[in-house]
């Protein structure tokens, strides 16, 4: 226990030390020191996480208590952390992928001046710290600390280049949309406290406790929790901040807006799966929103020309898949997809970063092309990422996506059909992206072409490692019908229970799999053969424009919500406040002033008024004192009548 207490503190505090070190010393350290320290702290945390993981494997879950966050007569919220099968997996992903992205950043951000370089790493370290609190917390309030903490870091990193007004807007939008979700989360917490008096997982998430809740309570609580997840994990209707979040440096997109933070919603629901499984309504809502988001984002991704925007919408879409998985009860499938997605999406974003780096900050894929030979490592690793996300066996995305699709089919074949449609679109837009960027002829300026170069080792090493992981990570969840053991599902039994029997025959599963893979492959081949030759022009069809303009959802929100609220606020400020309330007050004031002048107690000036009232006060006192309490009798008589 003492060992784990130290170990968990170690995991948590190293990134925080890094934050303080770089944040406070930003004007003092050289870039080299900053880079070594920032990356080193996360690697240290990663190594400690491995020990924690092994400890859980050998001895099971551990909860450690440090002190009480809030302790009052009716409510106690301890600062407790828990390492178990679920959080230890997330620990490895966060610190592992985090280490690689820190390493990558040391080269990617090298043109920044030292104080800003330090600021960048301080934010990144703080992000890891918050994310670790989120997954390690042993109750919903500690989770909420990390939950808002990662939102803050996301805000700071999206707006990292703070002189750019658009980036600031994107940062603010991210924070505010997340806050809307956070309000849902908070209300769910209060609801839990009101009904159960506690927020500790070990007390809330038991069948006995849950049986005390009415189905209305469970549905309400889980829906509110899901609102929180919508914000953080960018689901309809709170998803529009994520594509804008690409304003941040590309490694940030990889770490925060693809691999880790946005999966917090999936983590939270998996953690609370007992609650969610008790509400069919919530489960259906989650599945429907998940699949809708997956399809909506995929249609938009097909038409985007900014390399990061495509990946951003792809992330929204993949998160939709994970929620579909949660909605149909495939919790381990969703976690499986979180893990594989963390690898291949981090890889794709970092690959995109390498491309952008080589292209001198060009992000429009129509101005790329033929980068295959110039950036060989980036090319090969990016291709692996594309294959993995497209769901081609035996790469990792295939296994995790297939597990979700199979569970979806068992729930309702419609989910499966829509899921396969989305998978086809995924394969299409990813290989459209791949072909436009890497195949064909170079379409940029001659100047750009001369400067094309493969990125330094600090950037390519993470690419290679992530590519390997993207290729083989499926091994942790090979289904039994393929003779596998599904290590992950067994891991998660303490959290999500025994894998649910889907009631599908093996031959049925094989058929479903074959169909989805062949459709994806067809989409993939069409995309490559189309975009090896040409790029997309401005869309001409109505539907093409509609997708290209992102379904006009930003404009809709602006017209339907932002502007009316702004006008309402202006109305309150200029009409109600100034004219109605203050008007009444000033009117009364003038009346007093007028009558005071009549009494001629004073000439003018506020001191005179003061004396006036002082006199009134004194008179009151004297009346009371000398008149044998007559004024008091007056008051009490007044009341008795």
């Amino acid at each position: 226990m003492a060992f784990m207490k130290i170990l968990i503190a170690f995991i948590l505090l190293w990134p925080f030390v890094g934050f303080l070190f770089n944040g406070l010393g930003r004007n003092y350290w050289s870039k080299k020191v900053i880079a070594y320290k920032a990356t080193g702290y996360i690697v240290a945390s990663f190594i400690a996480s491995i020990f924690a993981f092994l400890h859980v494997q050998a001895h099971g879950a551990v909860t450690v208590h440090y002190f009480d966050f809030m302790n009052t007569a009716t409510l106690k919220i301890p600062f407790d952390f828990k390492v178990d099968a679920l959080s230890s997996l997330f620990l490895l992903v966060i610190t592992g992928v985090g280490s690689l992205i820190h390493l990558y950043s040391t080269a990617y951000m090298k043109d920044e001046a030292a104080p800003h370089y330090a600021r960048y790493f301080a934010y990144l370290n703080l992000f890891i710290f918050s994310m670790l609190i989120l997954v390690l917390g042993d109750n919903y309030v500690v989770m909420f600390i990390g939950w808002e903490g990662v939102g803050l870091c996301s805000y700071l990193l999206i707006g990292y280049w703070f002189t750019n007004g658009n980036y600031n807007y994107a940062a603010k939008k991210a924070f505010i949309m997340n806050r809307i979700g956070d309000l849902g989360f908070l209300l769910a917490i209060f609801w839990l406290i009101a009904k159960l008096g506690t927020v500790n997982y070990s007390e809330v998430l038991t069948y006995e406790r849950i049986s005390n809740l009415s189905s209305f309570d469970i549905t309400g609580i889980t829906l509110l929790l899901f609102v929180g997840a919508m914000g953080k994990s960018a689901q309809i209707p709170l998803f529009t901040w994520l594509p804008d979040a690409m304003a941040g440096p590309t490694p940030v997109s990889a770490l925060i807006h693809a691999a880790t933070m946005v999966t917090a919603g999936i983590y939270m629901i998996t953690r609370s799966n007992i609650l969610f499984s008790h509400s069919e309504i919530t489960q259906n809502v989650i599945a429907i929103i998940g699949i809708s988001t997956a399809l909506l984002a995929a249609t938009i991704a097909i038409k985007q020309n900014d390399i990061k925007k495509v990946l951003a919408y792809s992330t929204v879409s993949q998160l939709g898949y994970m929620f579909l998985g949660l909605g149909v009860g495939a919790y381990s499938g969703a976690v499986f997809h979180v893990i594989t997605h963390a690898f291949f999406k981090a890889l794709l974003f970092l690959g995109a970063g390498s491309v952008i780096h080589a292209m001198h900050h060009e992000q429009d894929i129509r101005k790329m092309g033929g980068l295959k030979s110039k950036l060989p490592i980036t090319h090969i690793t990016f291709l692996i990422g594309c294959i993995a996300i497209a769901g081609v066996p035996p790469f990792s995305g295939f296994f995790s996506k297939d597990e979700i699709l199979a569970a979806a089919f068992a729930k309702s074949p419609i989910y499966w059909v829509l899921g396969v449609l989305g998978a086809a679109m995924t394969a299409f837009y990813m290989f459209r992206l791949y072909a436009t960027t890497f195949l064909g002829k170079f379409r940029g300026s001659a100047d750009q072409e001369n400067h094309l170069h493969e990125s330094p080792a600090a950037m390519t090493l993470p690419l290679v490692l992530l590519a390997i992981a993207s290729a083989i990570a499926g091994a942790i969840g090979i289904p039994e019908m393929m003779g596998g053991h599904h290590w992950l599902a067994h891991q998660l039994i303490p959290i999500v229970g025994e894998p649910v029997e889907l009631g599908l025959t093996h031959s049925m599963e094989w058929i479903l799999m074959a169909v989805s893979v062949s459709i994806a492959l067809i989409a993939l081949i069409i995309a490559i053969s189309t975009y090896i030759k040409k790029t997309d022009e401005e869309p001409s069809t109505a539907i093409g424009k509609f997708f290209y303009n992102k379904w006009h959802i930003d404009e809709l929100y602006n017209e339907a919500i932002v502007l009316p609220l702004n006008r309402f606020a202006g109305f309150l400020k200029n009409v109600i406040e100034k004219q109605v309330i203050d008007g009444a007050v000033n009117g009364t004031g003038k009346l007093v002033q007028y009558s005071a002048r009549k009494v001629r107690l004073i000439q003018n000036g506020q001191v005179g008024y003061y004396i006036l009232f002082m006199v009134i006060g004194i008179i009151l006192l004297f009346v009371f004192w000398f008149n044998d309490l007559s004024i008091l009798r007056f008051f009490s008589n007044l009341n008795q009548h």
Partner: protein, 473 residues
Amino acid sequence: MILVSLLFIPILAAILVLFIKNNKLANWTAILLSAFTLLLVLQTLAAPIADFDIAWLPNLNSRFVLHADGLAKILLLLTAISFPSILIATAKNEYKQKNVFLSLLLFTQAGLMGVFLAGDALLFYFFWELALIPVYFLCSIWGGEKRIAITFKFFIYTFLGSLFMLAGILFVNAHTVGHSFSIQSFVHANLTNAQQVTAFALFFIAFAIKMPIFPLHTWQPDAYEQSPTAVTMVMSAVMVKMGLYGILRWLMPLFPFAFMAHTHFVVALSVMGVLYASFIAIRQDDIKRLIAYSSIAHIGLMNAALFTHTQVATQGVLIQLFSHGINVLGLWIVADIIEQQTGTRSMQQMGGLAKKQPTLAILLVGFALANIALPLTNSFVGEFLMFNGLFLFNPWMAALAGVSIVLAAIYTLNMVQKVAYGDISEKINTMQGPNKGAQAVLIVLLILVFITGVYAQPLFDLTADTLKQLFVK
């Protein structure tokens, strides 16, 4: 004795400073003596303190009773931290006849200390006025160009409130055994329910104006905008707490029936005020008015929390009384530095602070985060408990008031964006940055924000006795 010295050291300092013509020396004297007061307050925190009780106005049956429980102590601590902070942070500001200015500020401190310590209703009223009167002079002599009209409004409002309270005090006094003014005899006053309601109304109007509660709030943004910033800081960080303190110390124990009868009305009114002020804050361009409306929203939430009459929300308020003071003080100091050095309060003319003065920008962001109650800042603890109580009282009220946490993010981040981000504006470009004293104060306050945000247990412990008194019968 220590309680008396908490009153007399500020008074002594005020008189002493009045006779020091050298501005620098006057400043240092004020700072040192207020720092000494802080040390004394820190001494009172550890253990229970015996009441100080001597005869005062025998004809009136009023005694000079000073009583320091957790509620008093946490506000004494806030007052004692605020004054040296304000004096240091604004030390470089130029005021004509600075010694008089400082002297009046210190009288205010004495008044505030007295308000929080008084265990006798007449004494309470006396200190209530003692805290206000110097502020009228400070605003009307040292304020901005619209000071005369604004101070008049402020004065009429608060003085009317005071009169109502005085009437209320006399009314209750008439129903006590032996016409005493002591708080114990007030608690046991023999009031019918209808009489309770009358007295409740008289007291509540005074407190509601002081906080202020919508729709009695319009004096405040004007007063904050037009007062010299040092005075604004005193009003915003400490004086508005007088209203909340009054509810906790007088209203809740004295008129339990009337209090319970008005919970729904006051909570609804307060929540409405919270949203109202938050919406208006979104549209402010003047940084001081933005902070003013933000503060109205925060105080409104605290009032709503008190009237839920839940233990958990009351605990939240007891902590938030302190935390809000620290946060708003930090915001005011940053705003003051910017206004002093750029000559503008319009945020449209700001921008680029992060590039020009990174340290000040970081401090601003820090206090902004506390203002939106981000977890691990001090105000999260208080607001979490308050919202929790609101939810227990009525889930819909909690949801409605919860909208303000989104609105707070909007207006606070708007402020950060306009002031700190973007390219360096012409005005910001003229800035030299905070002087060492102001910067040190800001850093200390920000450290306090995070320490009490991570580990608030000392504040819980400090206020446990008050909570017990109010809820365990």
